[in-house]
Subunit: 217 residues, 2 copies
DNA sequence: AAAAATTTTTAGACTAGTCTAAATTTTTAT
DNA sequence: ATAAAAATTTAGACTAGTCTAAAAATTTTT
């Protein structure tokens, strides 16, 4: 079995790889895991020894097939627990991440499998992120940022790019929940803020900062 | 906050204290936690420094009020998770303990509180053990061992003293589940084994070893 | 293409929790 | 009441994961 810490590194490498092309850097990992570059270097050596990453000194890092399989397992557990916390226990989408960070490391194949069944095999977590398959495959989703929708189009909120509680709470406050319909009425040429109508009801002004972090289809 | 390991020591001290009068010994703790006496000694020093136990060298150990409060918190979390695993996910009572050993350490007051509500504020875990109150009080239950029931009495299985999967699976196999009615028909004078009728149906022979570990009322 | 800046790695140290072996204290047996 | 046995603690070492400071490699700038 792999340690709590190793699982977190793999997960983080996966996320950073998905975010940009090419190798993941030591520094970006240090930032994401809130440790120092020296600690990351050390851990990379260990993960490379275990064949979980491809690693050449000074050249950045990439998951091996086995490493990606493990990372997706952890992400799958994380997201399934988030669904549980949200759907069954009534936690807000701004609260579930932190608890899932711990729950994702509970070691039992059977547990996540039964939990998945109990939840009715959900496809997405409370933030709209897809749940990897048991076999370790990440579903591809094709969403657009709200900031890129043209005036007159009506779209539906499908996910978020920013997962901080602050951002999610802001969305709650303004009523921009997952699944709500958004009609783009106007785009401000100066600051790229968007004027939208929500669920054919109230009209709202959305900053570009927010619009860039809202995924729609 | 306290570490995973500290929580386990406190929990174990609580269990051993409940099992016998007086101070808990270093050796018994070493056995229970599957470590060595030397490691226990070390940890006891640390727990004493944190005022979680009363500890005089060579004299054994006893929880302080604060230590007991923490121990009961952990036990509460453990048992509530067991109920969840059993009732909602369909795990057997022989399977839940191991997973709960990990789940009990998830740090969130809110989580256990919401889980408790979701489960309808259960009073007992799947083994019949009472669930401590949120305030940290262990309900007292007055059960008798099946081995001490007199011939002719009909009782109900309320709990177990032995929690090993092997024992629990044995009970499953023989149909001695929690809640089932047991009429004591005969006690063998030689080996103290008991002849019982289950739920007014089949008759069963129960060894004294088993009868001593079955709690009834 | 060399110098400067940045990034990454190494070296050495620290903590929590564990271990073995040795020393000490307590208990039991004579 | 002493000797032997058992239990407990201390001493010193190990591992995983972290850190700071220094060294080395890479990238950027001039």
């Amino acid at each position: 079995m792999h340690s709590f810490t190793e699982e977190n590194y793999l997960k983080t490498i996966y996320y950073l790889s998905a975010r940009q092309e090419g190798e993941v850097t030591t520094n970006s990992l240090a930032e994401m895991t809130a440790t120092k570059a020296a600690s990351v270097s050390d851990m990379l050596r260990k993960l490379a020894e275990k064949q979980l990453i491809h690693y050449k000194k000074y050249q950045g890092v990439r998951l091996t097939e086995e490493g990606e399989r493990l990372a997706l397992k952890v992400i799958r557990r994380h997201r399934i627990w988030e669904v549980f916390l949200s759907e069954k226990l009534g936690f807000g989408w701004d609260e579930v991440h932190e608890m899932a960070e711990e729950l994702e490391h509970i070691r039992s194949e059977d547990l996540v499998q039964k939990l998945d069944a109990f939840l009715g095999y959900p496809q997405f977590d409370p933030h709209g992120d897809p749940i990897p398959s048991p076999a370790g495959h990440m579903p591809t989703v094709e969403y657009t940022k709200l900031s890129e929708v043209t005036v007159g189009e009506e779209v539906q909120v499908m996910g978020v790019l920013e997962h901080s509680p602050e951002f999610l709470q802001h969305l709650d406050k303004t009523g921009l929940n997952l699944g709500c319909r958004v009609l783009v009425q106007d785009v401000n040429a100066f600051d790229k803020s968007v004027s939208v109508q929500i669920n054919h009801e109230k009209t709202l002004f959305v900053s570009n900062e927010v619009a860039r972090n809202l995924l729609v289809n």
